[in-house]
Symmetry: C2
Subunit: 201 residues, 2 copies
């Protein structure tokens, strides 16, 4: 697939990048960041590790690429459509949870990235920024729900931080124990959470 | 330190095990599970990797040992003392959070263990059991708070599951962004969570 005789057009270059991305994603979904090596990606591609060092001179480049890929995949995933106010807050939180096989695979890769990211200050800062952006988006939705009288007054950033924390924890619980946390249970727990918040209006 | 001329008494054997444990823990705290190798533990001990294969014939044995060590360290950590009822629920949740340097180090190791554990069905089941035991303990405290009228009626397991999820998510947020989630902020968010729960009484 990666023989030297292939014509080197721009389209080919982009097709290769897409294939590399797909291979990195399949390795991540199957083995997590702990199993992400040039050798594993090369095997998935049917290419040599030598060819891959062209894309990723060092292991750290592969990790940074994988985190970026995870970020882009997460940003591009389909989102629930919901009316503004509390339903939009609920939809944004449901979008985080592992309620479908695709969402479970994506979350599995996220959780698996935490060990790698925490071990590297720069990667860790990148993750902190991603979560801060998520909280900022959630905070806007919370503020709208407050304007509509569906959530109690108070600092929307603080409410968003609590809600994001709740969703992240539920992700971890559901990944380790899908039997105890099937999709209906996750949804019920989220609705309990939102009902408790809303009851303070 | 591990010369062959040392007398082999039972006390020596236990002292060695303790030294190995300490070395494994220091490697985990510094580099996470991703950095846990026989070579790293040997370097920390000033021993040969050959000697360590006596304790850990395979990488998986070292991982299982590390997870067990993490479990025992977590179980043995000092706990807050609090009156029964809602204060006991709050204390148990505060005990989970990274509010001190020691609790931060322990949580760093827990989070780092998730990638390794999720990649192995047996290790993953072990983690699921640990979290289930934690929820069972929390559920008893919730039931007492309900009897005292400090928490609303309803399935205590369900309330405990939500509260554990909230605490786990807060751990992740605080590890990645200690500036945005200093101890006071974590405590405030937990108190918001408990106040919202209690307001439904």
């Amino acid at each position: 697939m990666y023989g030297g005789s292939m014509p080197r057009t721009k389209g080919d270059h982009e097709a290769r990048r897409r294939e590399v991305s797909e291979a990195v994603w399949r390795v991540l979904a199957a083995h997590g960041f702990d199993g992400l090596t040039l050798r594993a990606v090369a095997a998935e591609l049917g290419a040599t590790t030598g060819l891959l060092t062209h894309y990723f001179p060092a292991k750290r480049d592969l990790l940074a690429y994988a985190l970026d890929l995870l970020d882009r995949r997460s940003a591009a995933r389909p989102r629930r459509v919901a009316p503004r106010g509390l339903p939009a807050v609920r939809a944004a939180l449901l979008d985080i949870l592992p309620l479908t096989p695709a969402a479970t695979a994506g979350n599995r890769v996220w959780v698996s990235s935490w060990d790698t990211a925490l071990a590297d200050p720069e990667l860790s800062a990148g993750h902190a920024e991603r979560y801060a952006r998520g909280r900022a988006r959630l905070s806007e939705l919370v503020a709208t729900a407050q304007e509509l009288g569906e959530l109690p007054p108070g600092d929307p950033d603080r409410i968003a931080a609590g809600a994001q924390g709740f969703a992240l924890g539920l992700v971890v619980q559901a990944l380790f124990d899908p039997t105890a946390f099937p999709p209906e249970r996750q949804t019920d727990l989220l609705d309990d959470y939102l009902a408790a918040l809303a009851s303070r209006c």
